[in-house]
Point group: C2
Chain length 698, copies 2
């Protein structure tokens, strides 16, 4: 379906204009300038021709089939024009006109109207309030876009909601010398969506790398589904913006409060296998390298340089980017020693010296590519006036292509003076950067991409039928009583239905009931106040631990009763859990359009002072759950740091999977905090000590 | 003295050559090409002239005074040539020749030899194994450097040890459109040092910003002294490289182990007020902005844009760089509303829309500059084809200069198509960047620079005469007995001599002595094993706490004695300290050439799992000590987070100052760990519970 958008045989421009510097003129100009291989049909009620092309008064007058129509008329006229497009059989309309949902108010209604008309008339819409598309495929050469920043032909496809960001990315790729395949900036995206375009490019053999910019995901679940599928086949790079806009949200749970504005996008990117970036330059540099080089099999980088300082900077950045600079094998070192100058350094990074010859460059690149201990090669090259720099460039190009490992080249030079050297490298198909930092970051991104692609894709646990039935009944009952939080004993029951362990417990009102409950449970017990309006029980004196006998329990109850005098106050009596290992926090929060986000962190200061929390999307697979657990900074405390016993990570991961299943099966759970959860050494399941579960009928 | 180096009236080139692509030819070529205002004297035993300039067979034959001589002869001939330079009265020699300390072995001796000869002959040396210097001052135009990357004239001076890095910085500044004042790449730096050059540029009225790259500081104390002085007057930017080379060092103390390879440079930069960077591009961008713009008075940035997406990216990056994007005042909003289009956004970031006119740009820049709630302005400008972009550039330039606040402009465009627009901005004196991220980071660096300059410069505590006398006696006694660690009671005494509080304690051998000591101290007591070879006492059963009476102490002693059966084992009996607040760690480590680095962190997981430690250089002032305390991530735990009582920060800072004084007065202390130190609420001094102090006679 998107062929009509990206590979149109004919393009009508409705609202074409004879006046320069108007969108209706510029699009025709751009199509001509870029060498569009199809037919252009200007539509203008008065002008006989635009840019020497015969114009028609209406789309209905166009004599041939029209794949794609630009609509540039006044916003209120757009619905009628779309209807005409339908009559004509136009497949896709790019609505460049603005004045829709982005202006609010009546614009929102008008946008709903054009969607309705388009659906009724079987026209797909791109936009409104958008730039358009570009396809550099020589068979097509479609420049259906009003800004004109001529791209070079290549294999990177770019989609961005923001026209400004799309332009910046397009310009940046051009300046790097990276070629573009397709480009789409779809503004309000009322119909053709970003996931739809990503899926299309996933199937486009000419697209090697997809770059996307998202401001907000209108259908996060669909983005996740599509991007996951495509990212297994080719690199998908994503820019997150709007990271800091929000500040803290007013939420009642830890899990919600810990999630910042951008967290969801970040989680979706990671789960989908999208390599995420927070700045445009790094993303473009990574795309440039990925577009021409094979994926590295691992993270071991061989570095060569002809200047010491840049070699050190490369080392810093490569390690900072999560890669390694391993020692070279003895054979490689000996071979290097045989060809390089005596003073050259044959350990990693290899320094061929400023006087290094073209042959030495070529031999070094080849030897590093052949070393089994390396997965990628970074070449740092300053251009000394006394060296044959063009020769160096030719040797690098001769050594690199066809290799199964990526080669990235950094040329540190005055560009305007060494254009031929740079051109030899560029035309030789190696990515060329100005700064060691850029080359190293690009390699780091290639490794991240490969790691995401190679990670296990195990399936999450299946829905639990019996658990779901029990849970549904508990939630029904809670909602029926007009409550939004599950009473603690019900929360425990719900968790137990999913195989999560909780202490023996009972709810009680007066002292007599408490004492009865304690006898049934067995001393020592814990007494907790049971009120929805008490969020932090321990801060408000709503918990007393370690009550060893009836006397202790009686005293504790009496004291607590004076603190919480409301007649409807109830109490929880629960078994004391003997525990001296780490405490953890598990949580979940429902996110519109996505399902539930699951959170994991260590107890206490780690979560509350350091914000050290990892997130994933429910349901979780075993490996995803493990990633969350190992992903927190405090993980060493679970794995036996400081002489402590290591926690049973498998059982902790299993509990997280059960939690993920629980919320997925029960979408009426909006927020869930298990805090603390006691973790235990090998062979023992974690126990949920406090559970706060919020439900909603929606 | 460095005037002869940077402002020479005459330059001799000893080893001048008639052959192109040699250093001896290229330097003369570069001086001519750059329009050197002084006289060039080629020195060559055979050639009559080089590049049409009469050559002399020896420096001694030059008829006039020579300020500066390049030496490019074979390394072994350099000493004699330097001697001749001395005879001739040459003031400074740039030794471009390599083959000195950088190659090790005999090269080291040869370097020592040239230093000796130079001192004897009153010649200053620059290099050896170096590029040289550049001075763009129109009065001088000295290009005493063999690579040729023509700089534009400007106010940024660059010093780098690595020639490669110096070149990269030089090229980067050029590509940004930033002008250079002076440049120095002094290779092995055997005589004229980086601090000496920084001091010289501190006094150079043409230098507004100093950029330095250090691989290793040969005299860190001197660098600290000079950079501190200069950085109070003008921005000094520093690039740290070699951050990841080392990995862990084999050290016996926490403090040493926690300090990574680059920590010292980072600490020195911060203490000196040098704005530190880890990548070359960001440093050059910051220099570019600082060279033309006034310092911001605070961190509040007003952002304007004509495209939404880039506005969001700016917001992210500005906040990420530690700045704020405050709401605009009502008056500013109203004024903006009066001049901008209806759909424009008049909150911060202000969006004038893609259709924004030159007049609207100008008015918005002016209004943001006039808003008292803002300290700096960032302009984001995409160049729509339907807008008069040159007009926009002219309006920005007209609004910005002369303002007391910095203005940074980001132009997102296809550079080759909009050269005139870019030129108007550049020539108008505003810094112009390609990407919102760059502009935001540059503003962030300007704020960091201002913050460093504005921080309090209070003086550290004076030396303690009585404390020093007592400490010296304790250290003497320890060393006299052949020990390297102070016995705990001696360590306590030493700390007490500097006013640091410790528990009452006594050393004892057999049980009887222990019991006597405990009676004198008063129960409850703590029993600790006292052996230098037991580093982690608690892990090896070498500590028993809370011994309430003689029985308990006897049992503990007997058990411990079976664990540590060596006949020379001694014990410490110390008063139990009642404490339930936070524990902290204080430490110090002697660093060659610098004095002592002081470390501060929270106890336990913060230091050992998270590496959350702050460092400073002793002696510390009150404000420096406070910076260390507030600088750790776990600081909220000291200031009353999670419902705990806040710690007395003044007394903690006071203790850190005393510790800094103690190690400074006693340079024989090589490592010192106070861990744990118990911190208390307001009005109570911290108490050092365990002190490990290592001393050395060196």
């Amino acid at each position: 379906m998107l062929d009509a958008l990206f590979r149109p045989r004919s393009v009508a421009v409705i609202g074409a204009s004879t006046r320069r510097l108007t969108i209706g003129y510029q699009i025709i100009q751009n199509l001509l300038e870029f060498g569009f291989t199809g037919t252009i049909y200007p539509v203008n009620p008065k002008a006989p021709a635009i840019r020497s092309i015969h114009a028609h008064p209406s789309i209905l007058d166009v004599p041939d089939e029209v794949d794609l129509a630009h609509i540039i008329v006044k916003n209120t006229m757009v619905p009628d024009i779309i209807a005409e497009c339908g009559t004509k059989g136009v497949k896709v309309a790019i609505v460049n006109t603005s004045g829709f949902s982005e202006v609010g108010g009546e614009g929102i209604a008008l946008e709903q109207e054009i969607v309705r008309v388009a659906r009724a008339n079987r026209v797909r819409l791109f936009g409104p309030n958008c730039q358009g598309i570009i396809n550099t495929d020589p068979e097509i050469r479609a420049y259906c876009n009003f800004t004109f920043t001529r791209p070079t032909e290549g294999s990177i496809s770019v989609i961005a909601q923001s026209g400004g960001v799309a332009e910046v990315i397009n310009n940046r790729l051009y300046e790097l010398g990276a070629g573009l395949r397709m480009y789409a900036s779809n503004g309000n995206a009322c119909d053709v969506s970003i996931p739809e375009i990503i899926a299309y490019w996933g199937d486009d053999p000419g697209t090697r790398v997809i770059v996307c910019h998202v401001e907000s995901l209108s259908d996060p679940a669909e983005f996740l589904r599509v991007a996951s599928m495509v990212a297994r086949r080719k690199p998908v790079l994503g820019l997150k913006t709007g990271r800091t806009r929000a500040g803290a949200r007013a939420v009642s749970s830890h899990t919600g409060g810990l999630m910042k504005e951008d967290t969801t996008t970040e989680i979706i990117f990671r789960e989908a296998g999208v390599v995420s970036f927070s700045d445009q330059a790094s993303m473009c540099e990574a795309a440039y390298a990925l577009a021409s080089q094979p994926a590295p099999a691992g993270r071991r980088v061989g570095v060569m340089t002809n200047a010491g300082g840049p070699g050190i900077i490369s080392t810093d950045e490569i390690i900072g980017a999560g890669c390694e600079i391993p020692e070279l094998g003895e054979a490689t070192q000996a071979a290097l020693r045989a060809v390089l100058f005596d003073e050259a350094i044959v350990t990693n990074p290899v320094d061929v010296l400023a006087t290094g010859t073209p042959e030495q460059f070529g031999a070094t690149v080849r030897m590093l590519l052949e070393d089994d201990g390396l997965d990628a090669v970074l070449v740092n090259f300053i251009t000394p006036f006394f060296v044959d720099c063009k020769g160096v460039a030719r040797e690098i190009v001769a050594a690199a292509p066809g290799a199964a490992k990526p080669v990235v080249v950094v040329v540190m030079t005055r560009k305007e003076s060494w254009t031929r050297t740079l051109r030899i490298l560029r035309e030789g198909g190696v990515p060329v950067f100005d700064l060691p930092e850029q080359g190293a970051r690009a390699l780091g991104a290639m490794v991240r991409d490969r790691t995401l692609r190679d990670r296990p894709h195990d399936r999450p646990a299946e829905p639990s039928i019996s658990g779901g039935t029990a849970a549904a009944a508990i939630i029904d009952r809670t909602l029926a009583r007009g409550r939004t939080y599950l009473p603690q004993v019900r929360a425990y029951e719900l968790l137990e239905a999913y195989g999560l362990r909780t202490p023996k417990a009972a709810e009680a009102g007066d002292l007599e009931e408490c004492l009865e409950a304690a006898t049934a449970i067995g001393y020592p017990v814990v007494l907790k106040v049971e009120r929805d309006d008490v969020v932090h029980k321990s801060d408000s004196g709503g918990i007393v631990l370690g009550l060893g006998d009836e006397d202790a329990l009686s005293r504790a109850w009496t004291e607590m009763r004076t603190r919480f005098q409301q007649p409807d106050t109830r109490f929880l009596v629960a078994a004391s859990i003997d525990h001296d290992g780490p405490e953890v926090m598990m949580g979940a929060k429902r996110e519109a359009g996505l399902g539930h986000v699951v959170a994991f962190g260590l107890g206490g200061v780690f979560v509350e002072v350091l914000g050290d929390v990892a997130f994933g999307i429910a349901p979780l697979s075993e490996s995803q759950a493990r990633d969350l657990i190992t992903g927190v900074k405090g993980f060493p405390l679970l794995s036996g740091a400081r002489g402590r016993a290591a926690v049973d990570i498998s059982r902790l991961a299993d509990a997280l999977c059960r939690l993920g299943r629980l919320v997925t099966d029960n979408p009426r759970i909006t927020e869930l905090d298990l805090n603390p959860v006691f973790a235990f050494p090998a062979g023992r399941d974690p126990i949920v000590v406090d559970a706060r579960i919020r439900v909603s009928g929606d």
